[in-house]
Symmetry: C2
Subunit: 360 residues, 2 copies
DNA sequence: CTGTTAGCGCGTTCAT
DNA sequence: ATGAACGCGCTAACAG
């Protein structure tokens, strides 16, 4: 049916082995033969059979990229950066990115890992926060071990390392805790004392780490953890909207709201606006991630910047084995506080510490 | 090294063929044998070798998805929807999405198509506007023909059909022209007569179609095409910013600006703000696409909604052959005008038609 | 319903 | 530097 190596070999008057060598390039071949072969390839419009070569060589050109949802800019940027790093800077030799939307579901995550193992993927990049559930973490660690055993490189990007085993898995963790802490410290420095929090899904490591940073800042300032109400929900805009309304109901005296991420923050701003409150005059709002749209929001969002582009690219290079693994197989990506217009000092006309809101 | 079909067969006391049949499921197998096989699979932690089965069956589980840039929400949403449609609703049988960032470059597009042909991809979805260049269109048509000949389904999503050949390629075109026309008509109805345009890259079909719709509306209103200045650039925020400044320089009397897409529109708004102009009081601004962030912009963006989610999902189903192809192999996805807060009637204090700006 | 027999197209020794 | 031969792991006829 399709033209094969043998056809090219016949056309060029050489053996199939020679054609194979010319095409892979990793073997000495006489200049004359080489060009003869290449011409035959052109004339016959020959295209290598990937599956066949993957079978024979026991390795494929596929790299799996697991994300919660590519449509979410956070993951879109990450996935794009990984893909970019996989791309041949010169011409060939590049690997293909298989993007898988897990929706954050542990089952789907596991399922996709199996599918990728089936493809004999060269590497797998797991992005985004994990589910902080022991059973799932265990199942995941097992899968990762198997993949590593099968020769697949595994890179975690934006999540903590797997418990007790850098068995070949490399990790690029994000400093969610530190970033969140600095963010809350910024609000405290502005004078806020009643800070609400619209955190993300309760079970995610990302949520937990950011919340931990927030609480750490409160404690360090001598404030009780309950000094600010916390609501959990999804990581989408509507969760931000609903969360802000809930917060307002529970603690009408809030002067600031920190959101689990920028998308939530946008929802929070919308809810505040609809409630007749101005940002930041009446209530300050802050996000996390510094997604592209954040600086164009009105007011521009104070947030914590994660270098997603750089992190994704690095994850891609690590997946290719094109970059030296970090010492200890784990590197932490720093987060940077970005102060913009959505936060300011609280209005003095409001009572500074509207207590009695905790335990609401 | 790894456990193979034969190992499972031995363990279950059956032939390799039987195991294969159990796993593919498309062949009658006795219940008892089936469960015996499945148990052996479990015990041995057997995972099918994808490349081997792709080779033997002459088809793979891969579907290529070409986008300009997944990090761009437009493409992220599209890619996510395609991937979602590929996903097994029940459990197995799903295909994997290979996402390729072409950056809009014809060469890379062609290159990726070759890579996907090499993988013997089951289907390829080409998204986003094409480059309106005859040579490239020709090269592309050739590649598509080859892919189709090799049994790969080809779906175009968000771009016009390839000239003179539905050789197996299905098209989901977007009504860019109609949407743009209705958008400009909306501005005209509000009373605007001096409408600038920050169009996208000159060579893209998307840009051309939207611009054509804009001009059609102007003509229908009896206005000369030059009644509004047009600047070209990229499709990113900074192009919007720069474009708006250029527009302001060339035609200070503008009362409205239509942007090639929402991202550009955000840049336009920023430039306007920096120039001390209010949106929409001083200048109305409109975008295109209705990306998620558009309704959260301040002011909320008047734009033209493209049902990206639905279109992507449909493209995915067409790629799987799970949906009836549209009659004539081409379907047009309608665009819907979304009037929001960024457009309003022009200020009466400004001269209605500040002519003398054309040919600037 | 199940086993046997052939390849699928390529990489890779091992000779030469 | 090149060719011959084998096998990667699986599916698909074809028997039975």
């Amino acid at each position: 049916m399709a033209v094969t190596l043998a056809d090219v070999a016949a056309r060029a008057g050489v053996s199939a082995a020679t054609v194979s060598r010319v095409l892979s390039g990793n073997y000495p071949v006489a200049g004359a033969t080489r060009s003869r072969v290449l011409r035959a390839v052109e004339e016959l419009e020959y295209v290598v059979n990937g599956p066949a070569s993957a079978l024979a060589a026991a390795r494929s050109d596929l790299v799996g990229v697991l994300v919660h949802d590519v449509a979410d800019p956070f993951f879109g940027v990450l996935a794009g950066a990984v893909q970019g790093a996989l791309d041949p800077p010169d011409g060939v030799g590049g690997k293909l990115a298989v993007v898988c939307n897990t929706g954050g579901s542990p089952e789907r995550e596991l399922n996709y890992l199996t599918l990728l193992q089936r493809q004999r993927a060269a590497a797998v990049v797991l992005t985004g926060g994990a589910v902080a559930d022991a059973a799932h973490q265990e199942a995941l660690a097992t899968r990762v071990r198997r993949l590593a055993a099968a020769g697949t490189r595994v890179v975690l990007c934006g999540r903590p390392p797997l418990a007790g085993e850098p068995d070949g898995a490399l990790t690029l963790a994000f400093d969610n805790r530190g970033g969140a802490r600095r963010l809350t410290e910024h609000l405290l420095a502005l004078g806020h004392r009643a800070i609400g929090c619209v955190a993300g899904p309760r079970e995610r490591t990302t949520t937990r780490d950011r919340l931990a940073g927030h609480h750490a800042a409160l404690r360090a300032a001598g404030l009780p953890e309950e000094s600010g109400p916390v609501v959990h929900g999804g990581y989408d805009r509507s969760a931000g909207y609903d969360g802000a309304r809930e917060l307002l109901r529970r603690a009408p005296g809030l002067t600031a709201v920190v959101a689990g991420n920028d998308t939530l923050a946008l929802g929070v701003c919308a809810a505040l606006r609809d409630a007749g409150l101005r940002v930041p005059q009446d209530v300050s709002v802050a996000g996390f991630d510094d997604l592209p749209f954040s600086q164009d929001a009105a007011p521009a969002l104070t947030t914590v910047r994660l270098p997603l582009q750089e992190a994704g690219a690095r994850a891609g290079r690590l997946a290719l084995g094109a970059e030296e693994p970090p010492p200890g197989a784990v590197a932490t990506v720093q987060a940077e506080l970005m102060v913009r217009a959505s936060t300011s000092a609280p209005r003095r006309t409001k009572r500074p510490t509207p207590t009695g809101t905790a335990r609401g």
